[in-house]
C-alpha cells in the first residue's frame, strides 16, 4: 500500500501544472460578462468601492497612492456622508512591473471580479476592450457620462489614449513625453556644455565617447531587451524609429523590417557593440535592470538616459522618488531627442518624442456603476488634481489645471511646451503588445551581437506571424 500512496502523490504533482491553466479556463463566460443595467443599486445607502492602481505608498508611484488614500478616499467618503450615503472606499495597492500588473488585472477582469475603478496603461485599452473585459463608459454608467463637464478640459489627443474605435473607455490620468536626461556634472568633467542639445544621433555617440574617458561612468543607456518590457520599446526603440521618419504603425499598415527599423537597430549596435561599448549590455539583461539604471543615474554613474518625465517626478525626485537625487535640480539636464539627422524625423522634424498615457476605467462588473462613475469623476475634478499636485507636479490631462500647476517646474514645462507638440503615440491596437515584444527581441539580439540586417529580417517574419494574412505589413 505504501507504494500506491507514493504513486498517488506523484500523480498529484504531475497534474499540478495542468490545474493552474485549467483553473483559468474553466470560467468560460469571462469576457463580455458583467455589464447590465447602469442604474443598478443607484439608490443604495451602503456602498463599497475599490480602486486599484500600480501604485504603492513608499514604492512605485508613491505620490498617487498617497493621494488616493489620504485625500480621495476621506474626501469622497465625507462628501457622500453628507448626502446620507455610507460609502466605504478601499485602495488595492500594487508595486510591480507593468507587465505583471497587466497580467493580474486581466485575470481579475476575466474572472468577473476586480476593483471597481482600475488604473491601466492607455495602450491596453484596445486588447482589453476586444476581450470584453472593459466596456465604453456610457455602457457601464449610462448616457450621463457624456454630460460630464470635464471632457471639455481634456484635449482630444489626450482622450484618445483611453479610447478604442471612437468610444471612450476611461478618463486619462495624464500624458508624458520622452527626453534625453544627462548629468551636467559628468558633462562638465568631460568638457561638454551644460546646455547640450544634440541635433543628430552622431552627436549623441560623440558625447558618449567623451564621457567614456571618465572613470566608473557608463556613458549612455538606451533600453533594450525583453527584461525591460515596454520600457525598451517606449524609451528606446520607438523614439529612435521616429527619428528615422517611420512609425511602427502608419495608415493602416505595420512597419516591417524596413530601412528605418534597420537603422534604429544599427544605433543599438553602435551603442552596445565594439570593444568598448558605450552602454552597459548587462543592465539590459538583469531582471531589475531598469531600476538599476535609475539607481546608477541617481548616483552619478550614468551619463545619459532616455526616459519620460516619470524619471524626473517619481524616480530622482529628492522628495519621495524611488531613487532620490538630492542635487537633482542643479545636476540634471535634459534635451530633446534628435532625429537621425536634422529633418530626418517623422513629418520632416528635427526632434522627436513618444508619448503614452495612463488612465482609469470602470469595471463593467461593478455592483455600483453610478457611484463608481461619481468617484471616477471626483478623482478627475480640478480640486482632486490640485490636491494631487500639492505632492509633486505632473502633467495632467486638464488644460485648466496645467495652466497653473506646471509653472513652477522647468522640466515639466519643457515637456508640455517643447516636447508634446512634436510627439507621437503608439497605435491603440490589440496586436501592438505582441509587436512590441518582437521589437524588444530584435534589440536584444542586436545587443548580443546579431547584425542589424539579420535582426530586422527576423522581426519581419515575427511580425508576419503576429499579424497574420489579414493584416497589412509595409516593407
Amino acid at each position: 500500500m505504501r507504494r500506491t500512496n507514493r504513486l498517488g502523490g506523484a500523480a498529484a504533482g504531475l497534474l499540478a501544472s495542468a490545474l493552474v491553466l485549467a483553473a483559468c479556463g474553466s470560467d468560460d463566460d469571462g469576457g463580455g460578462g458583467g455589464g447590465g443595467d447602469p442604474s443598478r443599486n443607484a439608490d443604495a445607502t451602503e456602498v463599497t468601492l475599490t480602486i486599484t492602481s500600480n501604485a504603492i505608498k513608499g514604492g512605485k508611484n508613491t505620490e498617487e497612492a498617497t493621494w488616493i488614500t489620504d485625500w480621495v478616499i476621506p474626501e469622497f467618503t465625507a462628501m457622500k456622508k453628507e448626502q446620507g450615503v455610507d460609502v466605504t472606499v478601499e485602495f488595492e495597492a500594487n508595486g510591480v512591473d507593468d507587465e505583471e500588473y497587466k497580467t493580474k488585472i486581466a485575470l481579475d477582469l476575466q474572472s468577473d471580479s476586480g476593483a471597481d475603478i482600475i488604473g491601466i496603461d492607455g495602450i491596453w485599452t484596445g486588447e482589453f476592450a476586444e476581450a470584453g473585459y472593459i466596456e465604453p463608459l456610457t455602457e457601464v454608467a449610462g448616457e450621463g457620462v457624456d454630460d460630464w463637464d470635464g471632457w471639455e478640459q481634456i484635449p482630444e489627443a489626450v482622450q484618445q489614449a483611453m479610447s478604442f474605435e471612437d468610444q471612450k473607455y476611461g478618463i486619462p490620468l495624464g500624458t508624458d513625453g520622452r527626453v534625453i536626461y544627462f548629468n551636467k556634472e559628468l558633462f562638465a568633467q568631460a568638457g561638454l556644455p551644460a546646455d547640450w542639445q544634440p541635433t543628430s544621433w552622431q552627436e549623441i555617440l560623440d558625447a558618449a565617447r567623451q564621457l567614456q574617458q571618465l572613470d566608473g561612468v557608463t556613458p549612455l543607456q538606451i533600453n533594450a531587451g525583453t527584461a525591460m518590457g515596454e520600457a525598451t520599446t517606449m524609451q528606446g526603440f520607438l523614439p529612435l524609429l521616429a527619428g528615422t521618419g517611420e512609425l511602427v504603425w502608419n495608415d493602416g499598415e505595420w512597419t516591417g523590417g524596413s530601412e528605418g527599423v534597420t537603422e534604429t537597430l544599427g544605433f543599438y549596435a553602435d551603442v552596445y557593440g565594439g570593444d568598448q561599448p558605450l552602454g552597459d549590455p548587462l543592465i539590459q539583461q538583469e531582471a531589475q535592470g531598469r531600476d538599476t539604471s535609475f539607481q546608477m543615474f541617481a548616483n552619478g554613474e550614468l551619463g545619459m538616459l532616455i526616459e519620460s518625465d516619470y524619471l524626473w517626478r517619481s524616480v530622482i525626485n529628492p522628495d519621495g522618488g524611488i531613487a532620490p537625487m538630492q542635487n537633482r535640480d542643479e545636476a540634471v539636464g535634459w534635451a530633446k531627442i534628435p532625429a537621425r539627422e536634422p529633418g530626418a524625423g517623422i513629418n520632416g522634424q528635427d526632434f522627436v518624442s513618444m508619448s503614452g498615457g495612463t488612465g482609469r476605467v470602470l469595471n463593467p462588473n461593478t455592483e455600483y456603476p453610478q457611484q463608481a462613475w461619481e468617484l471616477l469623476r471626483f478623482m478627475n475634478s480640478p480640486e482632486a488634481f490640485e490636491a494631487m499636485l500639492a505632492g509633486s507636479a505632473r502633467i495632467t490631462p486638464r488644460d485648466d489645471v496645467n495652466a497653473t500647476a506646471l509653472a513652477d517646474d522647468p522640466m515639466l514645462t519643457f515637456v508640455a511646451e517643447e516636447v508634446l507638440p512634436i510627439t507621437a503615440y503608439r497605435p491603440s491596437l490589440a496586436a501592438y503588445p505582441q509587436v512590441s515584444v518582437a521589437l524588444q527581441e530584435a534589440t536584444a539580439s542586436v545587443v548580443s551581437g546579431t547584425s542589424p540586417d539579420e535582426a530586422a529580417s527576423t522581426y519581419q517574419s515575427e511580425l508576419e506571424g503576429i499579424i497574420g494574412d489579414d493584416g497589412a505589413i509595409a516593407d
Binding site: 500506491t4 506523484a10 501544472s17 485575470l107 476575466q110 476581450a131 548580443s448
Partner: protein, 315 residues
C-alpha cells in the same frame, strides 16, 4: 489501487475469512464485495476526476485553441487543431527550455540534492542528538522558509552591486545571475531542497539492521565497502522513491523565476518559467495549455521509468 475486486465477488462468511487469512494477496482481503468496495472508493474517484482527470482533459482541449488572455481571441477562441503542439515542438526556445530543464533536474536534484542529502544523513548519524537536530534544523530552514523570502536572500547574495558573495570573494562587479544563471539556480535549488533527501535518508539509514553494520565492521570492511554491500542494498527502494519525488518536483519547480525570471535572454528559462511567460506574460493561453500537456507527458514518462525500476526490486 487494490480495492476494486476483479475476481471472487462472493462475500465470504466469517468462517471462510479465517480460513483464507494466509492468502494475503487475495484481491478481496477485506471481504467487502464488489458493490461495497465500489461505494468506498467512489468519493476518492470523484475527487480524482474533478481535480485531476477533468483539468487534464480541459488542458488538452485548451491546447487545441488559440485562446488568449486579452484581445478578440479571449472572447471567441478558435479551434486551431494541432498548431500549438507543432509550433511548440519546432520552437527553438522550447527546445532550449527543455534542455535547460533536464540539466536543471539532473544536476540540482538527481546529483545535487540526493548526494548532499545522503552525505549529510550519513555523516550526522552518529553525532550527539542535540548537535544533529541543530544541523537538521538549519538544513530544514532552507526548505521551509517561504520562496519569496528565499528569493530575496539569494538576489542579495548574488547581486552584482554590493552582493554578499562579491564582498566575500572580493570579486566586485561580477554579475553571477547574468554570467552564470543556470549554475546559480542549480546551486540555489540544491540548497533549497536538500532537506527532504536528508530526512528521507536519515530514516532509511535507521532502518538498516545494526547487526549488518556489526558484521561489516567485524569483517574489516571500509566505509566504501560498507556503503556498497550493506547500506545501498538495504535502502535501494528509498533511493528510487527519493529520486522519483525530487525529479518530479524539480521538473515542475517555479521558484527560480523569482530570482532570474528566466533571464538573461532565456538562459535560465526552465519549463515552468517558459510556460508562465508564454501563457501569462505573452497572453497565449492556448499555447501555454499545449505546453503544459507536453510537460505532463514528459512527467509521466519519467514516473513510469522509476515505477518500473521500483517493481524490479520485488523478487
Amino acid at each position: 489501487m487494490t480495492a476494486p475486486s476483479q475476481t471472487d465477488p462472493a462475500p465470504p462468511g466469517p468462517s471462510e475469512r479465517s480460513r483464507r487469512r494466509p492468502r494475503i494477496d487475495d484481491t478481496d482481503a477485506a471481504g467487502l464485495g464488489r458493490g461495497r468496495a465500489a461505494a468506498f472508493v467512489a468519493p476518492a474517484l470523484l475527487l480524482i476526476s474533478i481535480f485531476l482527470i477533468f483539468p487534464a482533459l480541459w488542458t488538452l482541449y485548451l491546447g487545441l485553441t488559440n485562446w488568449r488572455l486579452t484581445g478578440l481571441a479571449a472572447v471567441e477562441p478558435e479551434f486551431v487543431g494541432l498548431d500549438n503542439y507543432l509550433d511548440a515542438l519546432t520552437d527553438p526556445s522550447f527546445h532550449n527550455s527543455l534542455l535547460l530543464t533536464l540539466l536543471f533536474v539532473f544536476f540540482s536534484a538527481v546529483v545535487g540534492q540526493s548526494v548532499l542529502g545522503f552525505s549529510l544523513a550519513w555523516t550526522t548519524r552518529r553525532l550527539r542528538p542535540s548537535i544533529r537536530s541543530l544541523l537538521e534544523t538549519v538544513v530544514l530552514l532552507a526548505w521551509i522558509i517561504p520562496a519569496s523570502v528565499i528569493a530575496f536572500l539569494w538576489i542579495a547574495l548574488l547581486s552584482r552591486h554590493d552582493g554578499t558573495l562579491n564582498a566575500l570573494l572580493g570579486t566586485e562587479g561580477t554579475a553571477w545571475l547574468l554570467e552564470y544563471p543556470m549554475q546559480s539556480i542549480i546551486i540555489f535549488n540544491i540548497w533549497n531542497g536538500t532537506a527532504f533527501s536528508m530526512l528521507l535518508f536519515s530514516s532509511a539509514l535507521a532502518s538498516v539492521p545494526p547487526s549488518q553494520f556489526e558484521t561489516a565492521r567485524m569483517s574489516g570492511a571500509g566505509t566504501l565497502a560498507t556503503l556498497r554491500d550493506v547500506v545501498f542494498p538495504n535502502i535501494r527502494g528509498h533511493i528510487l522513491t527519493n529520486t522519483l519525488l525530487i525529479t518530479l518536483w524539480t521538473f515542475n519547480v517555479f521558484t527560480p523565476y523569482l530570482i532570474t525570471r528566466g533571464g538573461p535572454e532565456g538562459r535560465s528559462e526552465i519549463l515552468g518559467v517558459y510556460i508562465y511567460r508564454v501563457a501569462l506574460n505573452e497572453g497565449a493561453l492556448g499555447r501555454g495549455a499545449a505546453l503544459s500537456l507536453i510537460m505532463i507527458l514528459i512527467n509521466l514518462v519519467i514516473a513510469s521509468v522509476y515505477l518500473r525500476l521500483l517493481r524490479e526490486r520485488k523478487p
